[in-house]
Every structure is written in structure tokens, then in C-alpha cells.
């Protein structure tokens, strides 16, 4: 955090000067007016009689310099934020290495028949959309595509930062491959789905770059308001010169400019862009690519989130919690449980072994032979092991094992229901077709999820859970997580209807998704966070993509969106509240010649009219760099109800806005006098 990137600083400073171009600044009306004022003071410095200037040249020169610095600080704030945003785009760009691809000559060839003769190695950019390429261990995927055939483990760490390899395979929701990722094992036949420069990576880079340049809708409104205020103050200040004439007083243009600059919302005007860019960068730092700034703002404004149960609220890994003997000896069951899972590499199997170890269950390991392990199959829906003596040990879903067994103990069904009622999944264990009891698997809530959901709901973001699980499990998990509204036995296709229903009631809705059948709902939702691990369709449809494929991050995004809006609002309040002090400091100063009586409202007891003007301008200029860290970091954000938030931010930023300039201007004034400037 504290190590300073000097090169970045240097670039930012250079940029600050380049951005002085009026053609560029006109996009920011507030700073544009500041620039016009600067030009006026330059003219005054060179040729004071033009506006009947009576003050010494050094005075005009000083004012000019302070104004130039004000502009530079504003530009610097923007440049710095831009550079930090671009840093991420650059890191993505680094991935765009010159790659080669193995283009298949014949698209219809079967994967296992492919030999070196069947493809030609071509440069990445020569591959066109619709081409088929072959990839094997060690190859870099040359372009985004879909796996047509095969299954392979792929290292996507370059994009996602996740070192764990992922499986990509044809059909289903895991068929998309991304340019720049590396095949670790096996072979794939891939249909290229992106043209040159249109791959995921290209677009991500593009998005990261444009998002920092485009104003969000809300920011446009803000700019309009600030422009209106600027014009109002301009009117008030310009006409003062005429009023001065009426009372036979030459109101110095430089002093009027000082008043105008003091009244105009320069602080927020200068920081508006950096607030946006910094907000977007915070999203990027979470490893999320937002396709537009609007999406991030909308996230802050969501009324409801549709959360999947598995993977979002729960870890998605079912862990054995308990062995329940039904009509049998406890030890007998425990042993059977361990035996059945001894070679079971699934997380569930591992958790059974762990539980057995915790319970100090011991078995004769020599009896267990790996080749005797019975893998889970879709047909039997059971797995297990055969012992050398021919004993069949099986575990599986209660229904499957019931079918298999010929002896079903009393109370088994009741016990199984009990487990389901508490949100668990029962597995039955049988030895030689005799059911001994149940394993209770529990899907665990993610750590901290309950608190996050609580926070969201306090802020008025309703969490809705949708799960394919049965009613009992759904209800249990919802209760555990503190969710009121949930949908059980929910099919992904139904999401779109749910989204539409919620939107119809006027609410903004956010959701996550990864599958192709999530795509319509992702597109329809106000914020659709797609998982990088998901299908291309889903990634296309969502307006954000999470590179880590962690659906819980939707909650993070809401917080970032809120923080972005809050920072903008709070700094605006600060900036506008600043005005009050200017009236008391500057108006007596400006009219000091014609209306000496106005000195009575100069209760800050500032040294001289000139020192007031300079001190006020210096404050105005310095407050910008002073607030850059706040603009970049965002205001402190805690989940609270709207009333509390409003009160808090109003007191902090409104209060500071009222007081800060009084104190600062007085201090600068004293300092100037001490330094002998006046």
C-alpha cells in the first residue's frame, strides 16, 4: 500500500499537464470554468488594465499559479486513478502472448484419431472463428472456443489467479476454454468461437479500459447538477461586477474569480472521475470484470439477490457428520462405513473416512484391496467394496440402497427424514444386502455467510435462495443462513421467471450463474455475475464475470457499488458545504474598498483582503490532493440502515465541509502572514 510506484507517479504528473487541453477539460464543466478563469488571470497578469485591475502583478501571478495547480491536481487525481485501472488491463495484456494453434484440416475427424498430419501449426491471429483446433498437454489455447470433444485439465491461473487446475470437457456447462490458458493433461478438440481481437481476454482488456473512460449514468446526472451550480455561481459572481459599479466600486476581476472558484464545487468536480475509476478498480481487484460502470452502480442499488444454495451459501461439499445405526451394532456400522469409503476419493468419501478416524474406528486394512473397490455408477447409484471373503459393503442414497437390500430395518425411513429435515443428506450403508444404518451428510454454510446476509438485509437488500434441493433441505439451510424467501426443487430454467417476477414489482435484482440455462436470467437481471468457469453463453449474458468463479462475491460487488455511490455523494456534500465559509471570508474581502462595513462579517479575523483571497484559493487547490486518497479508497462503509447511513455521512462530510475551510483558511492566512508574504 505504501510503496510508491514512481514511474506511475511520473506518468500521472505528465498526464496532468496533457489534460490541460481545453478540448479534453470541457467534458468536466467545473474544471473547464476553472481553466477559463485561469486564462483570465493570465491576461490580468500580463495586462492588468484590460479589466481595470488595480492590484500588483505578483498578486495576479500568484493567483494564476494557484489556479494552474488546482487544475493540475484535478488532472492528477484522474490520471492516477486511470493508471491504476490500466495497470490491471496491462496485466491482462501481458497474457496476450504470440501463440500458435494446431488447426485441424478436417473438422469431422475424431479426437482419438488425430495425428500430427491432421493439423497445421499456424500463428494465433491466423485462426478464424469457426475453425477447429487441437490442443494437447503443454499447449496454450490460442483463442476462445468450446470443447467439441474430449476432456482435459487446464491451468487457468493466468487469468483467474487460481492455481488449482480445472476440468474442461465437451457438452454441459464446462465446455468453454479461454485464450491464454494452458492444457495440463489430455487432449481436446475445440471449435473457435471468437474472431481475432474478440476473445474474452481482448474484450476484458477493452472493458477495463473503457469502463474508466465512460461516465456512468449517475455520474452524468451528477455532472449536470454540478454544471448547473457552476452556472448559478457564475451568474452570481459576474453580476457582482455590475453591482459594484452601481456603488462606484471597482470589484477586481481576480477577486471575483477567487470567489467563483471558492463557490463552485471544484472539489467534487475534480474528484468525480477518480471516484468512478477507483470504484471500477476495486471491482477489478476482486478479480471481477465489470462490463460497464453502470453495472457496478446498479449493484449498489440492488433490492434483492437470488443466491444459489450450493456454492454460494453452502460450501457445496457435503461432509459426513454422524453415523446412525439403525437396528444394528454401532461398531459394526462404523466399520462398514469406513470400509465402504476407504478408496472413495470423492469429498464425501473422504469425509466419511475422516469421521471414522475421529471415532477411532479400526479395520483390518489388509482386507481392503483397491481393485475390489466398486465405483459409483449412475445405474446402481451406490459405491462400496467387496471384501476378500465376498462380503459386499455398499453405501448410497437411501432409495438406491433400499432397492438393493433385502432387509430394511424398522425406523430407517423415519431416521432418513429426520436427517433431511435438518438440511442433511442421508446415505444408507448395507453389508450383504442388510442395511446397518445411515451416514448423515451435512452441507456446511460458508464461513461468515450468515453475517453477510444479515448485513445485506439490514441495508435493505433481500436475499432469496434458489436451490434444486428438496423443500426440507432448502428450508433448513435458509433458516440457518437467515434467509426468509427460498425456492426449493428449483430448476435453472425457472430463474428467468423469478427474475421477471421480482422486477415486475419494481425491484432491482442481482444473481449469479454459470450454466447455459442461466444465461437468459443473467441477461435479464440488473446485475448478472457470471462465473469464469461457466459457459460462454453465461459469460456473454452477465454484465460481470467473476474470474475466481466464486458466486459469494456478488455480495462483495453490492458493497463496492454502494461504496462508489456513497463516496460520490459524501464528497459532493462536503464540497457544497464548503461554500458557507467562502461567503464569510471572501465577500467582505472583495467589497472591502467600497463597503468597509462588511468587514464585520469577517469574523475569522483574516489579515487582509489579499491574504483572504490567496488563502481561500490555496485551500481550494490543496483540498483536492488531500482528498485523493479518500476518493480512491472510498468512504468508510459499514452495513447500516439507510437512516443511520444518511445521518452518519451527513454529520461527517457535511460537518467537515462546514468546518474544514474555516479552520484551514484561517491557518493558511496565519501562515502566509508568518512567512512574511503579507
Amino acid at each position: 500500500m505504501f510503496d510508491i510506484d514512481w514511474e506511475q507517479q511520473w506518468t500521472a504528473i505528465k498526464q496532468s499537464f496533457i489534460k490541460l487541453d481545453p478540448g479534453y477539460l470541457i467534458k468536466n464543466p467545473v474544471m473547464f470554468v476553472v481553466e477559463l478563469c485561469t486564462i483570465l488571470t493570465i491576461i490580468l497578469t500580463i495586462y492588468p488594465p484590460l479589466f481595470n485591475g488595480q492590484e500588483p502583478t505578483w498578486y495576479y501571478l500568484t493567483i494564476t499559479l494557484i489556479l494552474v495547480f488546482t487544475l493540475l491536481f484535478a488532472n492528477y487525481a484522474e490520471s492516477l486513478a486511470e493508471l491504476q485501472g490500466e495497470a490491471h488491463a496491462d496485466s491482462l495484456k501481458a497474457l496476450q502472448v504470440e501463440s500458435e494453434g494446431k488447426r485441424l484440416k478436417n473438422k469431422d475427424i475424431e479426437l482419438d484419431e488425430i495425428t500430427e498430419a491432421d493439423y497445421e501449426v499456424v500463428a494465433g491471429e491466423e485462426i478464424e472463428k469457426g475453425d477447429y483446433v487441437f490442443a494437447e498437454k503443454g499447449d496454450i489455447i490460442p483463442r476462445d472456443g468450446e470443447v467439441v470433444e474430449g476432456s482435459a485439465s487446464i491451468d487457468e491461473s493466468a487469468i483467474t489467479g487460481e492455481s488449482e487446475p480445472v476440468i474442461r470437457e465437451s457438452g454441459g456447462d464446462r465446455n468453454s476454454v479461454t485464450e491464454g490458458t494452458e492444457v495440463l493433461s489430455d487432449v481436446l478438440k475445440i471449435e473457435v468461437t471468437a474472431a481475432v481481437g474478440e476473445s474474452f481476454l481482448d474484450r476484458m482488456i477493452d472493458l477495463v479500459e473503457t469502463a474508466s473512460r465512460q461516465k456512468t449514468p449517475n455520474e452524468i446526472s451528477m455532472t449536470l447538477i454540478l454544471a448547473s451550480f457552476t452556472f448559478v455561481y457564475l451568474t452570481a459572481v459576474v453580476t457582482m461586477r455590475f453591482f459594484g459599479m452601481y456603488v462606484d466600486m471597482n470589484v477586481d476581476v481576480a477577486n471575483l474569480i477567487a470567489l467563483l472558484i471558492g463557490l463552485m464545487p471544484t472539489t467534487i468536480g475534480a474528484l468525480l472521475a477518480s471516484i468512478r475509476i477507483a470504484g471500477m478498480t476495486r471491482v477489478t481487484r476482486e478479480n471481477i470484470i465489470a462490463k460497464s460502470g453502470k453495472a457496478v452502480e446498479s449493484a449498489g442499488d440492488l433490492d434483492a439477490l437470488i443466491l444459489d444454495k450450493t456454492g454460494t451459501i453452502t460450501t457445496g461439499e457435503r461432509i459426513a457428520e454422524k453415523f446412525i445405526a439403525v437396528g444394528s451394532e454401532k461398531n459394526e456400522l462404523y466399520k462398514a462405513c469406513l470400509q465402504s469409503s476407504y478408496f472413495d476419493e470423492t469429498p464425501e468419501g473422504r469425509s466419511v473416512v475422516n469421521l471414522a478416524h475421529d471415532l477411532d474406528v479400526e479395520v483390518d486394512e489388509s482386507e481392503l484391496k483397491k481393485e475390489k473397490f466398486v465405483e459409483f455408477s449412475a445405474k446402481t447409484r451406490m459405491s462400496g467394496i467387496d471384501l476378500p471373503d465376498g462380503t459386499e459393503i455398499r453405501k448410497g442414497s437411501v432409495e438406491a440402497v433400499k432397492e438393493y437390500a433385502d432387509k430394511i430395518p424398522d425406523g430407517l425411513t423415519d431416521k432418513a427424514h429426520e436427517i433431511a429435515d435438518s438440511g442433511g443428506t442421508p446415505l444408507a450403508v448395507a453389508v450383504d444386502k442388510k442395511i446397518l444404518g445411515l451416514i448423515e451428510l451435512q452441507d456446511e454454510l460458508k464461513i461468515g455467510i450468515k453475517a453477510r446476509i444479515q448485513e445485506l438485509q439490514e441495508m435493505g437488500v433481500k436475499c432469496i435462495m434458489a436451490t434444486g434441493d428438496n423443500e426440507r433441505t432448502a428450508r433448513y439451510v435458509a433458516e440457518q443462513a437467515g434467509i426468509e424467501e427460498y425456492y426449493s426443487e428449483f430448476k435453472p430454467e425457472e430463474k428467468i421467471a423469478l427474475v421477471e417476477k421480482i422486477q415486475k414489482s419494481g425491484k432491482l435484482i442481482g444473481m449469479t450463474g454459470d450454466g447455459t440455462n442461466d444465461a437468459p436470467a443473467l441477461a435479464k437481471a440488473d446485475v448478472g455475475l457470471a462465473m469464469q468457469a461457466g459457459t460462454n453463453a453465461a459469460k456473454e449474458a452477465g454484465n460481470m464475470v467473476d474470474l475466481d468463479s466464486d458466486p459469494t462475491k456478488l455480495i462483495e460487488v453490492v458493497a463496492i457499488g454502494k461504496q462508489l455511490l456513497m463516496t460520490r455523494g459524501s464528497l459532493t456534500t462536503f464540497s457544497i458545504a464548503n461554500d458557507i465559509s467562502r461567503y464569510f471570508a471572501l465577500i467582505p474581502a472583495i467589497f472591502s474598498a467600497g463597503i468597509p462595513a462588511l468587514q464585520q462579517i469577517n469574523f475569522m479575523n483574516l489579515y487582509s483582503p489579499q491574504s483572504v483571497v490567496i488563502a481561500s484559493l490555496i485551500y481550494n487547490s490543496l483540498i483536492i490532493p488531500f482528498l485523493i486518497p479518500l476518493a480512491m479508497k472510498g468512504v468508510d462503509y459499514k452495513a447500516e440502515s439507510s437512516s443511520k447511513l444518511l445521518r452518519k455521512n451527513l454529520v461527517i462530510y457535511g460537518g467537515a465541509g462546514l468546518i474544514a475551510p474555516f479552520i484551514s483558511i484561517k491557518l493558511i492566512d496565519m501562515l502566509l502572514v508568518m512567512l512574511g508574504v503579507f
Binding site: F229, G569, A577
Partner: protein
């Protein structure tokens, strides 16, 4: 202490009246605003009035050939309003210009010059009632058939805007805002006419004449002839005050003993002057189903009102500076405060209260002469108008308030991390753009004309008092025109082509541009969905919102005029005691 009790009693009466008027107006437009709130039980009896009113209205609608069920979108609504006001303008212009050849002119008064007729017609159709003439130069025909008529119709026009705007907020993806003529006629028949009648009777009982003779000539006990102008004063006085009009029958306006004969009449007029625009804000709360929001809005403005009143009353309780400067061994009992330009019966306190009331609304009637106020005293009325008359006019006051609300909601919404939204309607750049332009309008319409007036010969010639007060005269006149207030600092010799055109133009722009903008906003809003309220929604019913709203009003509304006021009343105030 006695003063504080008097004020407490006054405000208690005021709030009671706001409650009654508010509930009643809310009831009148219940259907037009799609309101779901009902009359409180104790006021249920009002419903009995529905039938007779409906009987009259139905006759009127059928005479006018208006289909009550035919609703208008914002464009049609604005169009009907503008045409109606346009026709009225032409009628008024002709009456003022040619009153010399019209009947009911027993004193053979002249017709107005074209520019004065333009200014006068503009000012009456727009509910401004700025008078560049003394009331005594209007014939009875002009008073009754032009001024009296316009007082009803301009107030009715303003009133008709409130339900239309509310509909914009209540509508969900529907463009119709109601029927302009229905809203207008209902407001006239159910509210303005009957209440005016009752108030007028009360005024007559206090001594306000309702007489059709011209002048009564008396021989005083000292044997001097005194010509006393009378006329149908009471009727016009009632609607003038109720409809935030403010144009006096006499030049001295409500300081004239015939317009405002007693302390009781003063209290009654002061009450209804404030209650009618405030009640519509309260009614708005009822329409949107949040009475508390209406109360908060009224309360926010009331905080500012009290502040301004305190400034003015404190200033006016002080002796007039000119009196304190009297030399020689004359000792003057100054306990009554500044009595220059004030009536004995009202004294400083009731005069100050009226001064802030009349400028906190677009009423503009005066019961004392603001020009003779101590500089501190005159700061209050100035600032009240600078905030575009706080409660503003009947109906349009609500719309005016909304401009500040949108800006306020925008900032507040952001501060709680939400996209700005008001009553479930998203406030986006289109609405913000218009609100920002409306905010801009008042400074532009006040400060630029003031600049022109104080640097041109023709403008300066009209200035009556020297020094900073002279500047105040001009500034006040421009405020009074652009904010559609109509009160005068007086003194300024404003009946010239220059001021008639400058003020007339500002009056029309100050009235119709915001109406245009606000109806457009209503049109935009009516198309939007209503987002249900959640914990995270900005609450517009609590104290924080009130504080922010007051802050926005003061900083955006009031303080931008600080530089101008510094040259006028503030300079004068600081230059020489009170």
C-alpha cells in the same frame, strides 16, 4: 414573553388550519391523484358536500363540453394550461388598456399604456400581482372583471398543477396526468370560491367594504372635504390572500384600513395566506400516503421561516435609524420599534410576521412598507424570496419544492449508497437536468435584469432612495417579479417601459418555464415503475432528511444571492447600526 405566547397561539392556529385545508384539498383531488388515503374520521362529514358540488361541476362541464374522463398526458395538460392562460392574458390586456371606454368607471379613469397593460396582465395571469400602479387607478370594471377574475383563475391554475404532478409520481407506467379543466374547476368550485366567500364575509364584519359606489365624500369636523374611496374590497381581498395573489385593491395594499381593518382581520388574512400553499404540501403527503413526509417538508421550510422571521422581527423591534438620528433635546419613546411605514394597530411584530409570510409565499400583499424597514428587517423578506418564496404559491409551491427535493434526494441517495430515488421513482439524468435548469432560472432572472437596471440610465433614473437602499429597491423588484411574489419594496418608480417589459418578461418566464419543466418531469416520472420501499431506501420522513433539505435550500437557494444582498441590505445594515 407575551409576544412568544402570541406567536405560539398564531402557529397553533396555523397548523390547525393547514390540517383542515390540507385534508380538505386532499379529499377534493383524491381520485385525480390516485390517492389511497381517506379523510380522518372526524372530518368524514365533508363527504356530504360532494353531491352539491358535483351538481354544479357537472353543469359546468357539460356547458364547456368537457369529458371528465378524458385524461391528458403532460403535453396536453401543459398545452391546455397555456392556451387557457393565454386567452386570459389577452382578455386582461384588453380590459386594462381600454378601461376608459368600458363601463363601471365612475371616476373616468384612463386606460393603461401598452407596456403597463402588458406588465399588469402578465402579473395577474401568473399569480404574481406585482403592481406598477396604485390600485386607485383601476376602474371597478378592471378590478372586478379583470383583477378579481384573474385572482381566482391564476390561483386555480396553480392549484390544478398539484394533483397533476402528484399523479406523475403515483402513476405506474402510465402517461395520463388527469384533465386540466377538471382539476381547475374542482379547485375553484370546491376550495377557492367557498373559502373566499367565508373569509370575505368575515372581512366585511370587520369593516372591509363590499360597496359599489365610487367615492364617499364627507365633511370632516374641521370642515374639510374628504373623498373616501370604497368599492367591492372584501371579496377581492379574500381571494387575493387565499390564492397567494397579493395585488391590493388600494395602493397601500393590506396596510389600508379598508383592506385589513382590524387586528382580527390581519390575523385571519395572515393565517390563510400561509395556510393555503402550506396545506397543499400537507395534502401532497396525504396523496402519496405519507402524511409524515408532508409534515417534514412543511417543517423544514418552517425552520427557515422562523429563522427569517427572527431576523426581521428583531430588526423591526429596533427604532428606525432615521428616528434615532434626531438631534436636539427631543426624547423619543421608541418602545414600539420601527413604526415608519407601519400601522398603529399592527405594530412591529404583526408587521414582521406578515412581511415574512407574504414573501415566504408568492402572496406579496403587504401590511407595512418594506422599504421603510430597518436594513436588518428587510434581509428577511429578501432571503425568503431568494429561496423562491419557500412555500411559494398555491399548487405551484409544491412543484417548486420538488425542484429542491430532486437535488436533495439525489445527493442524499448517493450518500446512502443508492441510486437516487424519490417515492419509489428513480431520479435519473433527465429529471435532474430539468431540475438543475429550474434552479438556474431564478438567479438568472433576478441578477441579470438587476445588473442591467443598475448600470443603465433608464434603470437608475427610477431609483427613489439613495445608496445601498436604492440598489435594494431594484433587487427587490426583480426578486418580486421572477419569484412571482409581487410584493414591492416600493419607492422604485417602476412604471416605465423599461421596468414594465423587464419585469413582465421575468414574471412570465418565472411562472411558465418552471411549470413546463415540472410537468415534463411529471411526464417522465409517470412512465416509471415504482420501486417498493426497503430498509435501504432513502427515508424522506426523518430528521436527517429535514436537515439536508434545509441545508440545500439555504446553500443553493439562499446563499447564492449573498453577493447581491451584500451590496444591498446587508451593506446598509452593517454600515449604520440597525
Amino acid at each position: 414573553m407575551l409576544n412568544i405566547i402570541a406567536l405560539l397561539v398564531f402557529f397553533l392556529l396555523l397548523f390547525t388550519l393547514i390540517y383542515l385545508f390540507g385534508e380538505y384539498i386532499a379529499w377534493i383531488y383524491k381520485d385525480e391523484t390516485k390517492s389511497k388515503s381517506n379523510l380522518p374520521n372526524k372530518l368524514k362529514f365533508i363527504k356530504k358536500l360532494d353531491r352539491p358540488f358535483k351538481f354544479v361541476e357537472d353543469r359546468i362541464f357539460s356547458f364547456l363540453n368537457i369529458d371528465q374522463n378524458k385524461e391528458m398526458n403532460w403535453k396536453q395538460y401543459l398545452f391546455s394550461l397555456l392556451i387557457f392562460n393565454g386567452v386570459l392574458f389577452i382578455f386582461l390586456f384588453l380590459v386594462f388598456k381600454f378601461q376608459n371606454i368600458l363601463p363601471l368607471n365612475p371616476l373616468n379613469l384612463e386606460g393603461m399604456s401598452w407596456d403597463q397593460a402588458f406588465h399588469t396582465a402578465s402579473t395577474f395571469i401568473s399569480n404574481t400581482n406585482q403592481q406598477h400602479y396604485g390600485g386607485e387607478i383601476l376602474s371597478y370594471f378592471s378590478q372586478l372583471f379583470a383583477v378579481g377574475l384573474a385572482m381566482f383563475l391564476s390561483a386555480g391554475t396553480g392549484l390544478a398543477l398539484a394533483p397533476a404532478f402528484t399523479r406523475g409520481i403515483q402513476n405506474e407506467e402510465e402517461s395520463k396526468l388527469g384533465n386540466f379543466y377538471v382539476n381547475l374547476i374542482k379547485g375553484l368550485i370546491r376550495f377557492l370560491l367557498p373559502v373566499s366567500f367565508v373569509v370575505a364575509l368575515l372581512l366585511i364584519s370587520q369593516g372591509s367594504p363590499q360597496w359599489f359606489g365610487g367615492e364617499i365624500i364627507v365633511n370632516t369636523i374641521e370642515g374639510v372635504k374628504q373623498a373616501i374611496r370604497v368599492g367591492p374590497v372584501a371579496g377581492i381581498e379574500a381571494i387575493k390572500t387565499l390564492g397567494t395573489n397579493g395585488g391590493g385593491f388600494f395602493a397601500a395594499n393590506a396596510a389600508h384600513p379598508f383592506e385589513n381593518p382590524t387586528i382580527l382581520s390581519n390575523i385571519v388574512l395572515n393565517l390563510i395566506m400561509l395556510a393555503s400553499p402550506m396545506a397543499i404540501i400537507y395534502a401532497f403527503g396525504i396523496w402519496i400516503g405519507k402524511r409524515r413526509h408532508g409534515v417534514i417538508l412543511i417543517g423544514a421550510l418552517f425552520v427557515i421561516f422562523l429563522g427569517l422571521f427572527w431576523v426581521t422581527a428583531a430588526g423591526e423591534m429596533q427604532p428606525n435609524r432615521a428616528v434615532t438620528m434626531v438631534k436636539g433635546d427631543v426624547h423619543i419613546d421608541q418602545s414600539l420599534g420601527n413604526m415608519e411605514g407601519k400601522e398603529t394597530r399592527f405594530g412591529s411584530l404583526l408587521s414582521s410576521l406578515w412581511a415574512i409570510s407574504t414573501t415566504s409565499t408568492t402572496n406579496g400583499a403587504v401590511n407595512s412598507m418594506h422599504n421603510s424597514y430597518n436594513p436588518q428587517g428587510s434581509v428577511g423578506p429578501f432571503l425568503a424570496m431568494a429561496m423562491n418564496c419557500l412555500y411559494n404559491g398555491v399548487g405551484v409551491g409544491l412543484l417548486n419544492l420538488m425542484t429542491y427535493i430532486f437535488i436533495c434526494v439525489f445527493i442524499a441517495g448517493l450518500m446512502i449508497g443508492r441510486a437516487p430515488q424519490y417515492l419509489g421513482k428513480q431520479i435519473e439524468w433527465r429529471e435532474v437536468k430539468i431540475a438543475a435548469l429550474i434552479i438556474l432560472l431564478l438567479p438568472v432572472l433576478v441578477l441579470f435584469p438587476t445588473s442591467i437596471a443598475v448600470i443603465t440610465k433608464v434603470g437608475k433614473e427610477a431609483i427613489h432612495n439613495p445608496g445601498f437602499t436604492g440598489f435594494s429597491e431594484v433587487l427587490y423588484e426583480m426578486f418580486s417579479a421572477a419569484a412571482n411574489n409581487g410584493s414591492g419594496f416600493e419607492g422604485l418608480m417602476d412604471n416605465s417601459v423599461f421596468y414594465n417589459l423587464l419585469n413582465g418578461g421575468a414574471i412570465l418566464m418565472g411562472r411558465y418555464l418552471p411549470i413546463f419543466g415540472q410537468l415534463l418531469i411529471a411526464g417522465y416520472l409517470s412512465q416509471k415503475k415504482i420501486r417498493p420501499e426497503t430498509e435501504g431506501t432513502l427515508k424522506v420522513e426523518n430528521l436527517s432528511f429535514l436537515v439536508l433539505f434545509v441545508g440545500v435550500m439555504i446553500i443553493i437557494g439562499g446563499l447564492i444571492f449573498m453577493p447581491a444582498l451584500a451590496v444591498g441590505p446587508i451593506a446598509e445594515m452593517l454600515s449604520g447600526g440597525m
